[in-house]
C-alpha cells in the first residue's frame, strides 16, 4: 500500500490537515479531545489503584483493608471507573465522532470548555467527599444511606456538564450538515455515537430526577426519598449509562475494524437499525436490577426486563455478527480468501488496535452478554441477585468489553490526534492480551464463586464476629484466589496502558512529517501507515460462496458457536433454579 508523505498544513489558522488520515482536525476539537482523555486517564489511575485494594481485600487469604476502608475504597473504585473514566472518555469520543469524522468545527468550543470545567469541578467534589469518608455509600448510594450533600452536588454538576457536551455534539452535527463538510450520510461510527448521545440524554435526565431530590433530602429540605422509587429511578441512570457504553463501544468496534484492517460495513441498514433498537428499548433495562424487589409486579418485570421482548438483545446480537462479518468481508475483499478462517489467522494480531477489538468483542459477547441476559431473566435473578455473579458479569462487559475497546482505540488516537509515537510500542502489543485475559479469568472466577451464593460488596466472607457461622465450600477459596490472580494480571495490563498513554502524550516523540512505514513501523500500530480504511475495495471483487455458510463463513460459524454457548448456559441456569426452594 502506498504510504503518503504529507506536511502539516494550516487552513485559515484553525484546521490542520492530518497527513495520515486526510481528515481536517479542528484545533478546538483537538484540544477538547486531549483534555477529556487526560482526565479520563487520571480517573482510570485512581479507580485502578482502588481496584487493586478492593481485590486484595476480597481475596480472603490476603484480606488487606479494614471494613471502613474497604467500603470507602469500593465507593472510590465504582465512581472513578463507571462514572469519571468512562464518561470523560465518552466526551472525547463524542468530539471525535462529530468534529473529526465529519471534518467540521466544534459547534460551541467555549461552552465545551465550560462544560469540561463543570465536570472537573463535580469530579473533584465527589473525590474529596469520598476520600474524606463523607460518602461511604458505594456507587449506588441507595437511600436512606446518606452522604454529605456536597457529594450529590458534585454528581449533579458533573451530569450537567456531560449533558452540555451532548448538546454540543448535536450542535456540531447540525453545523457539519449546514456547512456541507461531508457528502451523503454521516458515517456509521458517527451514527453509533449519535445513538450513544441520545441514550446519554435519557440517562442524564434520570440522573437529575433522582440526584436533585436526594440532594435536597440530604440538606433536610425534603423529609424523605422513597427507597424503592430511588432504586427505580437511580437505575434509569445506573443502567442506561452502561448502554451509553455499549453504543460507544460498538461504534468503536466499527472504528477499530476500519482503522486496523479496513473492515467494511456489510449492510448499513442492518447496523443502523440495530443502533436504533438500542435507543427504543434500552432504557427499560434499568428494570432488570429490580427483579427481586418488592415494589413491582410480575408483568411489569417481564415486559421491562426483557427490554420489551429482548429487542435490545437482538440489537447486540446483530452487531455481534456485523462487526466480525465486516472484518471478514473487508479482509476477503483484500485477498485474504483462504479457507474459512484464513482471514482470521492472517489478521494483524500484533496490532493492539485489532487485538483489543477482537478481545473486547469475544469477552463482551461470550462472558458479559450471555451472563447478563441470563441473570437478567426474571426468575433466574433469584439465584444471581447481589451475589458475585453480578460483578462477574459486568466486569466482562464494562471492563474487558468497553474499557478494552477504549484502550485499543487509544493506540490510534495517540498518533492520529496527539500526533505522537506510541511509547513502549512493544509493551502495547502485549497489553490487550494481559488486560482482557486477566479480566476474563477474573470475571469467570467471580461468576462461579457467585453460584455458591458468595455476596458481592462484602468485606469478610468468613463472617468473623457474626452470630452464626457460614462456611462456604472450599471451592470458593480456590475461586477467590483465581479471581485475585486474574485481577492482578488485568491490573498489570491496566498499569501498562496508563504508562504507555501518559509517556506517549506528555513525553512521546512527535510523529514527524514522514508518514511512511519505514519511518513509523514499530512505533505506531500498522493501520496508521498502511491506512486500509482509505482504500475501499470496489464491487468488482468476486467472492466465493461457502455453501450455506455464505460469503462470510467464518463469522457464521463463530456466531453459531456463540449461540450454542448461550443456549447451554441459559437452560443450565433454569435447571439450577429448579433445585431451590419453591417460592412464589
Amino acid at each position: 500500500m502506498s504510504a503518503p508523505t504529507g506536511t502539516v498544513e494550516r487552513v485559515a489558522g484553525v484546521f490542520r490537515i492530518c497527513p495520515t488520515t486526510g481528515l481536517k482536525v479542528h484545533k478546538d476539537a483537538d484540544a477538547l479531545i486531549k483534555a477529556n482523555a487526560v482526565v479520563a486517564t487520571v480517573a482510570l489511575l485512581i479507580g485502578g489503584l482502588a481496584a487493586i485494594l478492593v481485590l486484595l481485600t476480597r481475596w480472603q487469604a490476603v484480606h488487606l483493608l479494614d471494613a471502613v476502608s474497604f467500603y470507602r475504597v469500593l465507593t472510590i473504585h465504582g465512581m472513578n471507573m463507571l462514572i469519571f473514566f468512562i464518561l470523560f472518555f465518552e466526551m472525547a469520543v463524542l468530539y471525535f465522532a462529530s468534529a473529526v469524522l465529519l471534518n467540521s468545527r466544534v459547534a460551541a468550543p467555549k461552552v465545551g470548555w465550560f462544560a469540561f470545567g463543570l465536570m472537573v469541578i463535580g469530579t473533584v467534589l465527589v473525590e474529596w467527599m469520598m476520600m474524606a469518608g463523607r460518602a461511604d455509600v458505594l456507587f449506588t448510594s441507595y437511600v436512606p444511606l446518606r452522604a454529605d450533600p456536597t457529594f450529590y452536588l458534585g454528581v449533579i454538576l458533573f451530569a450537567v456538564g456531560a449533558l452540555i457536551v451532548v448538546g454540543i455534539f448535536f450542535g456540531t452535527l447540525v453545523v457539519a450538515k449546514r456547512e456541507r463538510t461531508y457528502e451523503g450520510s454521516v458515517p456509521l461510527v458517527t451514527f453509533g455515537a449519535l445513538t450513544a448521545a441520545i441514550i446519554a440524554v435519557i440517562t442524564l435526565v434520570h440522573g437529575a430526577a433522582i440526584y436533585i431530590p436526594t440532594y435536597l433530602w440530604s440538606l433536610g429540605v425534603l423529609a424523605q426519598v422513597d427507597a424503592q422509587v430511588y432504586r427505580l429511578v437511580w437505575w434509569g441512570l445506573g443502567h442506561s449509562s452502561q448502554q451509553i457504553n455499549v453504543a460507544a463501544m460498538v461504534s468503536i468496534w466499527y472504528l477499530l475494524g476500519a482503522l486496523t484492517v479496513g473492515a467494511v460495513v456489510v449492510n448499513e441498514k442492518i447496523s443502523r437499525t440495530a443502533f436504533v433498537l438500542y435507543i427504543a428499548f434500552i432504557s427499560m433495562a434499568s428494570a432488570h436490577h429490580l427483579l427481586v424487589d418488592p415494589g413491582f409486579g410480575p408483568s411489569w418485570k417481564v415486559v421491562n426486563t426483557s427490554y420489551f421482548m429482548y429487542m435490545a438483545v437482538l440489537a447486540s446480537m446483530l452487531h455481534g455478527f456485523t462487526v466480525p462479518a465486516g472484518v471478514e468481508l473487508g479482509m476477503r475483499l483484500r485477498g485474504f480468501t483462504q479457507g474459512i478462517f484464513g482471514w482470521l489467522r492472517r489478521a494483524p494480531w500484533g496490532d493492539p488496535g485489532f487485538s483489543s477489538l477482537w478481545l473486547s468483542l469475544v469477552v463482551f459477547g461470550f462472558v458479559g452478554g450471555i451472563t447478563g441476559v441470563t441473570f437478567g431473566t426474571e426468575q433466574i435473578n433469584i439465584i444471581a441477585h447481589n451475589t458475585l455473579r453480578i460483578p462477574g458479569h459486568f466486569h466482562a462487559t464494562v471492563v474487558s468489553g468497553t474499557a478494552m475497546a477504549f484502550m485499543g482505540v487509544t493506540y490510534y488516537v495517540i498518533p492520529l490526534i496527539f500526533r505522537k509515537k506510541v511509547a513502549f510500542y512493544g509493551l502495547a502489543r502485549w497489553q490487550p492480551y494481559l488486560f482482557a485475559g486477566g479480566m476474563l479469568v477474573f470475571s469467570m472466577a467471580m461468576t462461579f464463586a457467585g453460584t455458591f451464593g458468595v455476596p458481592r460488596r462484602h468485606w469478610d466472607i468468613t463472617f468473623a464476629g457474626a452470630p452464626f457461622n457460614v462456611g462456604y465450600s472450599p471451592a470458593v477459596d480456590l475461586l477467590m484466589a483465581v479471581m485475585g490472580i486474574g485481577g492482578l494480571i488485568a491490573a498489570v495490563g491496566g498499569g501498562m496502558y496508563i504508562l504507555i498513554t501518559v509517556v506517549s502524550v506528555f513525553f512521546g516523540k512527535p510523529l514527524g512529517e514522514d508518514c511512511t512505514s519505514a519511518a513509523l513501523a514499530g512505533s505506531v500500530p500498522p493501520g496508521v501507515y498502511t491506512r486500509p480504511f482509505t482504500e475501499l475495495p470496489t464491487e468488482d471483487v468476486e467472492l466465493e460462496e461457502h455453501g450455506r455458510l455464505g460469503m462470510m463463513p467464518g463469522t457464521m460459524i463463530l456466531v453459531l458457536i456463540f449461540l450454542a454457548a448461550f443456549v447451554v448456559y441459559y437452560f443450565a441456569n433454569w435447571k439450577l433454579l429448579s433445585f431451590v426452594w419453591r417460592v412464589g
Binding site: L255, P298, M309, G330, G453, H458, F468, L549, Y570
Partner: protein
C-alpha cells in the same frame, strides 16, 4: 462501492440485507422470543417466581407486627435472638435491621409459609445459604413470598446488600425440620459464639 465505519455512505443506504445477515437475524429473533416466552411459561409451570404479595408498610407498623409474631410463637432464643416456630401455612415475619435478622425461624419441611421481608432502616439483601436464594429487602415495603422449604437443614440468612460498616456481621438463621420431628426446641443460652 463499499463503505467502512468512518466513510459517509453516498446516496441511499437502505439496501436489502446480505443473505447471511438475514439468516442470523432470523435465528437471533427466534432466540429472543424463546428468552421472552420462558418467563411467562415459568410463572405457569415453574416453582420459583419472585411475584409475592407486595405492599407498602411503615417501619414502626412492621416492627410491631414482628414483635407480635415473636410473642405468639417464640420457643426459645439463641445468641439473644428469639427463636420462633410458626405453624405450617402461617404468615412468617422477618425483619432486617443494621445488622441483624430477627427472629430465628424454625420451619417444617414441605409446608408452605408466607415469608414477609422488610427493613426498618436501610436496604438489606436476603440470601439463603447454602441454597442461593436472593431477594431485595427494601425499607417501607413488605415482600410476602410464599415459600416451601423443600429440604430439612440448618440454613443461614446472609445480608448481601451493603448496609453500613457492620454489613458482614448480619447473619441470621433458619432451621427446617422434617415433618413430625418438630421438637419443643433447643434453647441455647446466649453463649458467646453460639454454634460457631
Amino acid at each position: 462501492m463499499h463503505t467502512t465505519g468512518v466513510t459517509s455512505p453516498k446516496g441511499v443506504w437502505w439496501k436489502p440485507a446480505h443473505r447471511s445477515e438475514k439468516v442470523w437475524f432470523t435465528i437471533a429473533f427466534i432466540w429472543c422470543m424463546v428468552l421472552f416466552a420462558m418467563m411467562p411459561l415459568w410463572h405457569l409451570r415453574g416453582g420459583q417466581n419472585p411475584s409475592g404479595i407486595r405492599a407498602r408498610v411503615d417501619a414502626d407498623a412492621y416492627r410491631a407486627r414482628v414483635t407480635q409474631f415473636i410473642q405468639d410463637y417464640q420457643v426459645g432464643s439463641e445468641n439473644g435472638i428469639p427463636v420462633v416456630a410458626p405453624p405450617a401455612g402461617s404468615d412468617v415475619y422477618l425483619l432486617g435491621q443494621m445488622w441483624q435478622w430477627i427472629p430465628i425461624l424454625q420451619l417444617e419441611q414441605g409446608a408452605e409459609y408466607t415469608l414477609h421481608l422488610s427493613s426498618v432502616d436501610v436496604n438489606h439483601g436476603f440470601n439463603l445459604y447454602p441454597f442461593n436464594i436472593n431477594f431485595q429487602v427494601v425499607p417501607g415495603y413488605d415482600y410476602g413470598l410464599r415459600v416451601t422449604p423443600t429440604e430439612a437443614g440448618d440454613y443461614r440468612i446472609v445480608c448481601n446488600e451493603f448496609c453500613g460498616v457492620g454489613h458482614h456481621l448480619m447473619v441470621g438463621k433458619v432451621v427446617v425440620q422434617a415433618p413430625g420431628t418438630a421438637s419443643a426446641t433447643t434453647t441455647t443460652p446466649n453463649a458467646a459464639g453460639g454454634d460457631r
